[in-house]
Assembly symmetry: C2
Homo-oligomer: 556 residues x 2
């Protein structure tokens, strides 16, 4: 891990028996997710204590895990009450001493992951039939309020002390960057002057004033709070179309084998080349390593559980991407390959497409969709290499579409094709609400329908003519063209590439989600390196120490 020399790499896999910070209880159709952060169990316990339910990446990794398990393991859960198990404090937000002692890249990636997790809650509400209710039973500040904002509704106890607030600007000289500002004005549609005032109050708002400004949905006195929460949770649960009862499927460990610079999962393999600063990331089609039945019915998916390729392969891909983000900052280009039998991928696509109304299949498709969004939002260059033996078909072709460039070998002797499926037509929208095909062909919208209607494998020439790949060199040029492209990429300023890709990948409309990652994150990243925040007398640096921050008051 980058931020502390010699620190162990960040591991994103966890499981309930290892949770240190969250307690999940399920009663009937309602889950209660209680935050009870262990002060001494931060990721770098020597650098900071997680007081007042403040969080670090470790706390958020557990939250992401709980949410994933609610999706797959608890189909009977229709509503989630998010609350604190500590008295008088809901959540104090991201731990400031953690931020103050983290390097720029870690801060940015921490914020990105927490944003993705919170957007995952909103995705569950919009598409999985799981509603979230924040039961704010104490002080709820900064990232704590941002967590509440990610819920469908916020109920606040009126006990004279509980409050909601975004004190980043007055106290820390940074932004409520985990979606906070965007969610206030775009999701909750708070008036901009009220939002401006709110975001400059170090103490936040309590009681009726919080309701009047639309910062929370309701307040209740302490004596009525629990009943009100329970009642509203039942009402939200009523809205769900999830099954009345389980069983779900269990998510077992991925247990990748790590050998030097190679990580090997069942379907995904990553091989880092440090000299070239690349990672070869290959995802194998079903049946690549052993004969494998593709489930065709919901019952078969239920029986296959977490071993179904569609779940497992994308869980592995997700894990690999997160490890690269946090643990391998110098690996600038990810070379994506899909290997194996494209027909097996298309068979999966057919079964997913046919059963999308079943809760489990819906979750599988959602998980793939969210993993693909993780690719879009990963600030590394992605080059897809499509060579003979490739499995870039249907769902896996989305990886080529998500790449900054796709190179396809036009070999005179060895057949090399790609193919689309119905799943490319709408199952995996990007954060901006359009499919990757739609964004690709903004300038020639008819090309989307043509590509989807083709209905057969495309060779390299056809794919190039259809605009589906960037380049289709023949076998004589292939090695040189790919090598030179990778070498050129490795020589560019990594910051310019990050900015360039963040702008070129999201043509077309913007949504609350893309605003969080484009506008809000970019500003926060800017602020995160300004001396007024991180300099010797910056507000993040001096927080909690003697003396106040000293600002250079020039506006930019």
């Amino acid at each position: 891990m980058e931020q502390t020399a010699g620190a162990p790499p960040v591991i994103f896999e966890t499981s309930p028996e290892r949770y240190q910070h969250w307690k999940l209880t399920v009663e009937g159709n309602i889950a209660t997710l209680g935050m009870d952060v262990r002060e001494d169990a931060g990721m770098r316990p020597n650098d900071y204590k997680l007081k007042l339910n403040s969080y670090d990446l470790g706390v958020d990794i557990e939250l992401a895990d709980v949410l994933q398990r609610l999706r797959f393991e608890h189909p009977e859960v229709h509503a989630v009450v998010l609350t604190s198990l500590k008295p008088r404090i809901f959540c104090a937000g991201a731990n400031i001493f953690m931020l103050g002692t983290s390097n720029h890249g870690f801060k940015v990636n921490f914020c990105k992951f927490t944003n993705e997790t919170r957007l995952g809650m909103e995705d569950m509400s919009a598409r999985s039939g799981i509603k979230f209710l924040a039961a704010v039973n104490g002080i709820c500040a900064g990232g704590g309020y941002e967590l509440a904002l990610a819920c469908d509704e916020i109920l606040l106890v009126d006990d004279g002390s509980a409050s909601v607030g975004l004190p980043e600007t007055p106290l820390l000289g940074v932004l409520p960057g985990t979606g906070g500002l965007t969610r206030v004005v775009d999701k909750r549609k708070v008036r901009r002057d009220l939002a401006d005032d709110f975001s400059t109050l170090s103490e936040g708002l309590r009681g009726k004033r919080a309701v009047e400004g639309r910062f929370v949905d309701a307040v209740y006195p302490t004596s009525k709070f629990q009943d009100a929460v329970a009642k509203r949770a039942r009402e939200l649960a009523e809205l769900s179309d999830r099954p009345k009862s389980g069983p779900g499927i269990s998510l077992g460990p991925l247990s990748p084998a790590i050998d030097g610079d190679t990580i090997t999962y069942k379907y995904v393999t990553g091989v880092i080349d440090r000299a070239k600063r690349t990672c070869d990331l290959t995802i194998a089609a079903p049946g690549s390593y052993a004969a494998e039945e593709v489930p065709t019915t919901p019952d078969e998916y239920q029986a296959a559980g977490d071993q179904a390729w569609a779940i497992r392969a994308f869980r592995e891909l997700d894990d690999a991407l997160l490890r690269l983000r946090l643990n391998e900052p110098e690996i600038g280009t990810i070379i994506l390959r899909a290997a194996g039998d494209p027909k097996a991928v298309l068979a999966v696509d057919a079964s997913l497409d046919a059963n999308q109304s079943h809760w489990l299949v819906r979750e599988i498709v959602s998980h793939i969709r969210r993993t693909l969004k993780r690719v879009d939002l990963t600030s590394r260059s992605f080059f897809a290499l499509i060579e003979p033996g490739n499995a870039f078909a249907g769902t896996l072709f989305e990886l080529a579409l998500a790449s900054d460039r796709a190179y396809m070998l036009d070999h005179p002797d060895e057949p090399n094709t790609i193919e689309l499926s119905a799943m490319n037509g709408g199952a995996y929208p990007m954060s901006n609400g359009l499919t990757r095909l739609e964004v690709r062909f903004l300038g020639e919208p008819d090309a989307v329908g043509r590509a989807l209607a083709h209905g057969a494998p495309c060779d390299a020439e056809t794919a190039l003519d259809a605009g589906l790949v960037f380049s289709a060199p023949d076998d004589i040029d292939w090695d040189d063209e790919v090598r030179m492209a990778l070498e050129a990429r490795a020589a560019f300023s990594p910051d310019a590439l990050t900015g360039m890709e963040a702008n070129l990948r999201f043509a077309g409309p913007e949504t609350m989600e893309t605003k969080i990652f484009g506008r809000l994150t970019a500003w926060q990243n800017w602020i995160f390196q300004r001396p007024n925040a991180v300099g010797e007398r910056g507000a993040l640096t001096t927080y909690g120490r003697e003396g106040r921050a000293t600002f250079d008051f020039k506006r930019t």
Copy 2:
């Protein structure tokens, strides 16, 4: 001016007889705007030479002035051909040595002003009936291509050398930030992989390949280029609804009086308080200083010329804002007041509303609209103070709506009212396409219609209830509340305020325009302070010197 100690302040006013870099010729309905930058006439001639038609802020100030004069002084111009008067070079973009020797704030404000100017060209195309044709008769790189992108169409000469390109990433480690990346994928809808490739080519694209990727609209061999340009310009001019002939109105100098920290125009007065880091900016209603006839017909507007309040007051406001941006970076809060007779403002509104189809009135409204956008995009806090004697009515009330907060004195004895007019209903959309009222009331859209239908002056209590102002203290609380708000604002991190305001001001949809200022600019600002760009071995620093840039290859 900040970037060089002791340098004179930037002056934004200029006029054709003083142009050093541009030549305007008008033949019939077509203007030709020729770029011919004087190498030795940069704003800081000791720091850099403006070789190869590269530009600095001074070149762009002249461009903004030409465009403004085309609007008002040349109603007969229906199409503009933008071209170079130098052989084999169209424009090399922003001068790199200028960027390399400018501080962060200057770079950011330079980019913002150039973006506003280019968006002004697109505004002229969309709303004023003036189309732009880029006649690219030589190498067109970086900001040069961004200038061409701002035109409706781009014609390229095919002479074996002329090219278009965005070499910022490969050569400078920064972004094509003057709208470049956004315009490529959003305006011209170039496919993202082609845009990615294009943006990494230091040499750009020539001839047919530039057309195929949609980077230009057509190429012509040298022998046919001038005829093709002339023909297409005539066709574009045909689309115009501008008058067949003049006269226009002349824009005379504003000639503000500057006395220490006070700047006095005819209608606008600015007074800086350096200790408080505020500027009191007051705009006076028509007739505030002398009896004044408000024009009611197009002929009367034509006769009044640039002395009509609606033109002059907003030209003054625009100039004052630009001076504050560039010359007074430490003045963090702008206190807006409107003084005088609100009925006079409403009379102007009525005449503008009644004559919007006339070319001159259309330009006046457009100019007000663009000046108000300049407020939205100015990274200073705006507080409107609405006190007895105020003229915050109709068009001037947009200034209160554009402010981060509006305080309105609820005085028991002295009447104090605001009033809306038809002009608040759609004449002045923000960059995101919505009116300020619509953005304000995203959460209660009915309030927009209610406010517009009110049709009478609102006292402070009514305005507060209608959600039109932030706060309405009485005369006992007024001084303290306003003072404390200003003091609190002055104590916050200026960077956090810039980021916060950039996120809270633009709720709702995003457009190409807001993407340029939100997403693209924020990323560029981030990159502009990274050591990989501006460090001792950064790419901007080492450009044109011996040795190559040295990068820290960590991706963020």
